[in-house]
């Protein structure tokens, strides 16, 4: 599992996740994921296009970070999940936790809405 962090302008952080968000993958990147998003006071978008698998551990990590950012008045938006990953997000009604957009432009726009 790999995490790539960059900034989109001054107010939005972009995090791209690459690999499998199974238990091992989450344990490997959870600290980096939280550190990349929570302390900086920026809205964030998360690129899921290279995530091949997500299980409940990955969902838990996302829910926990989304809740923490919401408490700090920051928005967290996900985008471009692969179809089978999107099935899991839909099964968990994840859109009720955080928006899931089709692409990066929509996701960045959603952070400004």
């Amino acid at each position: 599992m790999r995490i790539e962090v960059s900034d989109v302008g001054e107010s939005v952080r972009k995090v791209a996740l690459v690999g499998r968000l199974d238990t091992s993958g989450v344990l490997g990147i959870e600290t980096s994921f939280v550190t990349a998003l929570v302390p900086h006071g920026k809205h964030a978008v998360v690129d899921l296009s290279k995530v091949e698998f997500i299980g409940s551990m990955g969902l838990r990590m996302f829910i926990s970070v989304a809740r923490t950012m919401r408490d700090k008045q920051m928005k967290l938006v996900f985008y471009a999940p692969q179809p089978l990953v999107n099935n899991v997000l839909e099964t968990a009604a994840f859109a009720r936790i955080a928006p899931v957009c089709a692409d990066a432009a929509q996701a960045v726009a959603a952070t400004q809405a």
Binding site: D22, T23, S24, F53, G55, S56, M57, L59, R60, I63, S64, A66, R67, R70, L84, N87, V88, T91, A92, A93, F94, R96, I97, A98
Partner: protein, 139 residues
């Protein structure tokens, strides 16, 4: 290969799980399982075995897990056997996520297993073992 059965036996530890999961992926590759079914099998394996290790027999020194995979026309049958405390996932009630405020962190895994499977059966044997059978549509 219709009718084929593969059995994975491993200690209920995180390290052994990693190797078993790698073996599972090799088996699914060898059986040319379609992408959606493969995802569902891997998801169910991940959720059930992790649950056994975290909440079941993983706390004791002699915990063990056996997973058999049966490949037949139209279905993949996964049988999980462990010697941990009794746990029937069929009776596990999970509230649907309604909002970020109400989202529960626990219980998601069992709900994912339910949605990914075509059927779930459970028995607690006289030998104090959990026998959980999960059927996955192969197509």
């Amino acid at each position: 290969m219709p009718g084929a059965e593969h059995i994975l036996r491993f200690p209920a530890t995180r390290a052994a799980y990693e190797q078993a999961f790698a073996d599972l992926r090799c088996t699914l590759e060898a059986q040319a399982v379609e992408a959606k079914a493969r995802y569902n099998v891997e998801l169910i394996f991940e959720e059930i075995v992790t649950n056994i290790i975290c909440h079941g027999c993983g706390h004791g020194p002699h915990g063990s897990i056996e997973v058999s995979l049966g490949f037949d026309n139209g279905a993949i049958v996964m049988k999980f056997c462990d010697n941990g405390p009794a746990f029937d996932p069929r009776g596990h009630k999970v509230a649907e996520i309604s909002s970020i405020e109400e989202a529960r962190i626990g219980g998601l895994g069992i709900e994912l297993v339910r949605r990914a499977s075509a059927g779930i059966d459970y028995q607690r044997t006289p030998q104090d073992e959990n026998h959980l059978t999960v059927t996955v549509a192969a197509r």
